[in-house]
């Protein structure tokens, strides 16, 4: 039942918090530090959903999403963007890049979990 989630954020604090929230909700988190690292981690992985930050070194969230969407295996993998703004433009940009949805930072763990279920279903076997 547990969903495997790849979470990409350059902030250690946010990564720690994502890990905590996801683990407590029974997910299996994989973590990466930036877009490039995220792609490395993704290699050989088939996560049920991906969470990514936007502002990151080396490869930012938009570039990361684009690269993920470019891979056949992940064309339809749900991707949630972590953003500090809820500006519609940002959401539009995220979506334009191929994101499925967004989570506004600081995130409420319950909302994060709910959003994940909304895009990835209740579990891998659904």
């Amino acid at each position: 039942m547990s969903l495997s989630i790849l979470a990409v954020d350059d902030s250690r604090t946010i990564r720690d918090m994502l890990k905590l929230a996801l683990t407590q909700a029974g997910f299996e988190p994989q973590l990466a530090e930036d877009g490039v690292h995220g792609l490395e981690v993704l290699d050989g992985l088939q996560p049920d959903a991906i969470i990514t930050d936007i502002n990151m070194p080396r490869l930012d969230g938009f570039g990361f999403i684009e690269a993920v969407r470019g891979q056949d295996a992940h064309r339809a993998t749900p991707i949630l963007v972590l953003t500090t703004e809820s500006a519609p433009e940002l959401k539009a940009r995220a979506r334009a890049a191929g994101a499925t949805g967004w989570i506004v930072k600081p995130f409420d763990p319950a909302k994060l979990v709910r959003a994940l279920h909304m895009v990835a279903g209740p579990g891998a076997t659904a």
Binding site: T13, L20, S86, A87, L90, G98, D108
Partner: protein, 732 residues
């Protein structure tokens, strides 16, 4: 939401991360100032502040969020190329970074930040862009942690369930975005009782008839006591990717919703439409707790006073796709370890070193020959032990960079308050020193830097008069030199005014009038307690602490300070420190039957006392002639109070000790045993201060040996007792 432990841990780690981010910010700003910046530099700065803000938000650190947000907004202007930075602007950014640093500290220590104190800098910063205040505040409000607003829904909620008819027709882009109608319907099912009807084919009154691929649409009757905005939120991610109508059936009927605004940049390339299963086959079984906050302002519900997300004031072009041109290599992997664990490891390795020495001694005492396998294995064991020790010490080593950055701030602040223009040049920032040393160096170094800005550098007028550039320069450098770290603070000021120093010292009774002093002796007067050359005590350096305190702190670290000065050219303080506080290279000697360790760094050479090079000086003392100079002779056993002076020192072993300030002494010991590295064991904690003694160590035989503090021994314990009676004289 969780047990307090993991959050407290993350919080603590957040503040560590803040330090790293602040360092990156500081670095970036310095590079910008030096003109060495590229696009990525600004991005790094922006991200640093952005990440601080992100983490701060998670912990509800409002002061920090507020400041970081406004800082970040101005940085974003720089990033977007809409604001160019000159030197003054960079300085302003640095000042703001300093404030950010303080706010981080305050948050960490649960201290409130005085908003009025930081406001002027923020305003100054914002004035660079002409940004207006109110706008910012609004955006900050937008960023506040989400509060759930279940009770803000429809008035009808309390009276019972409301029936909604929801028409949902995904467009093909919905599938391309990775959304899945099935899951959305399932989430909807969580809100109440649903009856779902799946329709094939298009709904006639839609404007986007040309939409291809997505042929399914659903009509859902939802009976729920939840607020309308919760229903809307289920569709948050697909807003604009579907046509959606939410109609309240009870009471009056609602007109259909206007078409949703179109998202301008839907993905151009067409992913094939994903076939959806019949929605009815998706039983709403998930046990999710649906507590979605906020609502989509674009959905314009007609009746309900749905809590609206405040409209963000402006759309910053916050996020250009940037694939950095930076190096592709990943940052070196690191592990964070509790310092206490390292301390424990260091202690254990110390034990190992002692144990190994004891073992060696036992083997030697057992009469096992050196070429036996046991002895050879032991030799290898010793080598391994030493390697382990070195490696463990490396764990605690840290680059001095963070320390230097703090000093950069000191320069900025002190130069600003004195109205001097000062540039700080740093060198050797990557030099690694034991973390403990770095921490304990901060205070003395701060004082030296302030001193350099305040006293070292001349006023702008004097500088121009002297043909120098108006801007003073302070150089801070670090380097490893023969097993020690040397940190130098130099200024290009007027140099030490030796006449003035001398006059002050005489006036204060520190030297006698007419006493002849070399230049370096005169300079060393600065380190005497109670010395201050400033005519008026400025609020920067002259207060309370003098250079004597600086010297003492450095000596406590096993270091020495040395001063050099050239009139008109500047002054330089050189601090030489051991790489670690845990081990010391020492000479093991014997005095009055006791084994002692003399730090190797202070020993210049070893000599033998002879009648022909000893001279009486006064009643109780002697000097030793070392080439062309006379050096006071001290008997270590006597100085430590272990015995009375001997009648004759002819043939005694003498250690020639030189301190950084040039003071020399000839120290008589009874015997030199060996030269070796010893593990330092604090004596202060277990016993207290002992005059002339720096610490203790444990030798191979398990005995405690005291480690000498030559500086303290020579200055404080100058008992000047030499030999038994003044009448017994050395024979010519």
């Amino acid at each position: 939401m969780t047990s307090p432990d993991p959050m407290a841990e993350i919080r603590a780690s957040f503040f560590i991360e803040c330090d790293e981010l602040l360092e990156a910010l500081q670095d970036g700003l310095t590079q910008i100032d030096e003109g060495a910046a590229d696009d990525e530099t600004v991005n790094v700065c922006f991200r640093a502040v952005h990440s601080i803000k992100g983490g701060a938000g998670a912990f509800g650190l409002d002061d920090l969020v507020r400041f970081a947000h406004r800082y970040e907004t101005v940085l974003d202007e720089v990033r977007g190329g809409r604001l160019a930075l000159d030197h003054d602007a960079v300085l302003l950014f640095m000042r703001a970074a300093d404030i950010l640093f303080d706010i981080v500290r305050n948050c960490r220590d649960d201290v409130e930040t005085d908003a009025t104190a930081v406001e002027p800098t923020l305003r100054e910063l914002e004035s660079l862009t002409g940004g207006s205040e109110g706008e910012e505040e609004e955006e900050v409000a937008d960023f506040q942690p989400m509060t759930l607003s279940l009770d803000l829904g429809l008035g009808a909620v309390d009276t019972g369930d409301t029936r909604y008819e929801i028409r949902f027709r995904p467009e093909r882009e919905l599938f391309a975005s990775g959304n899945e109608p099935l899951f959305i319907l399932r989430a909807l099912g969580e809100l109440g009782h649903t009856e779902t009807e799946c329709t094939l084919g298009a709904i006639p009154d839609l404007s986007k008839l040309e939409a291809e691929g997505a042929l399914l649409s659903w009509k859902i009757i939802l009976e729920t006591n939840r607020a309308r905005n919760e229903i809307e939120e289920v569709f948050e991610f697909v807003e604009g990717l579907c046509t959606l109508e939410i109609e309240e059936l009870s009471g009056f009927s609602l007109p259909p919703l206007p078409d949703l605004p179109e998202i301008s940049e839907v993905p151009g390339d067409s992913a094939e439409s994903i076939e959806s299963e019949d929605a009815n086959s998706a039983p709403p079984i998930s046990r999710l707790n649906l507590t979605l906050p906020g609502a989509q302002e674009t959905q314009t519900p007609k009746t309900a006073p749905v809590s609206e997300t405040p409209a963000p004031a402006h759309a910053s072009a916050k996020s250009q796709t940037q694939r950095s041109s930076g190096s592709p290599s990943a940052p070196p992997a690191t592990v964070r370890v509790d310092l206490e664990r390292i301390e424990r490891l260091v202690n254990l390795v110390g034990e190992l070193v002692i144990n190994q020495a004891m073992l060696s001694q036992s083997v030697a005492q057992a009469g096992i020959p050196a070429n036996s396998p046991v002895a050879q294995d032991l030799e290898e064991f010793m080598q391994l032990t030493r390697d382990i020790q070195d490696s463990v010490m490396m764990i605690r080593a840290q680059p001095v960079k963070s320390l230097f950055q703090r000093m950069a701030r000191i320069v900025r602040e002190s130069s600003a308050s004195l109205g001097k223009r000062v540039r700080l040049v740093t060198d050797g920032e990557t030099t690694e020193v034991d973390k403990t040393v770095i921490e304990r160096l901060a205070d003395p170094l701060t004082h030296m830097i302030r001193n350099a800005v305040d006293h070292g550098l001349e006023s702008a007028e004097s500088r121009i008069e002297a043909g120098k550039s108006e801007e003073g320069c302070i150089t801070l450098s670090a380097a490893h030199r023969s097993g020690r770290v040397v940190i130098e603070v130099s200024d290009d000021g007027g140099g030490i005014d030796r006449e003035k120093v001398r006059a002050i010292a005489e006036e204060k009774g520190l030297v006698q009038a007419g006493q002849s002093l070399s230049e370096s002796d005169t300079d060393a007067l600065l380190f005497l307690p109670g010395f201050s050359t400033a005519k008026t005590v400025s609020n920067l350096s002259g207060r309370g602490v003098g250079m004597d305190v600086v010297r003492k702190s450095i000596q406590d670290l096993g270091g020495q300070v040395h001063i050099t000065s050239t009139p008109g050219k500047g002054t330089s303080f050189s601090i030489s420190l051991p790489l670690t506080l845990a081990v010391l290279d020492g000479m093991v000697v014997e005095a009055a039957g006791e084994t002692l360790v003399v730090p190797l760094g202070s020993i210049v050479e070893t000599l033998t006392a002879r009648h022909e090079n000893m001279r009486a000086l006064g009643a109780d003392s002697q000097v030793l002639q070392v080439r062309q100079s006379f050096v006071p002779l001290l008997d270590l056993g006597v100085e430590l109070g272990f015995r009375e002076p001997r009648s004759d020192y002819h043939g005694s072993v003498v250690l020639l000790i030189t301190l950084e300030d040039g003071t020399r002494s000839a120290l008589i010991v009874d015997r030199i045993h060996e030269q070796r590295q010893v593990v330092i064991k604090g004596l202060q904690e277990s016993y207290g201060y002992v005059p002339g003694i720096a610490a203790a160590t444990i030798l191979g035989d398990g005995q405690v040996a005291l480690i000498l503090d030559p500086v303290d021994l020579l200055s404080s314990a100058n008992g000047k007792t030499r030999y038994r009676s003044a009448d017994l004289q050395i024979a010519g």
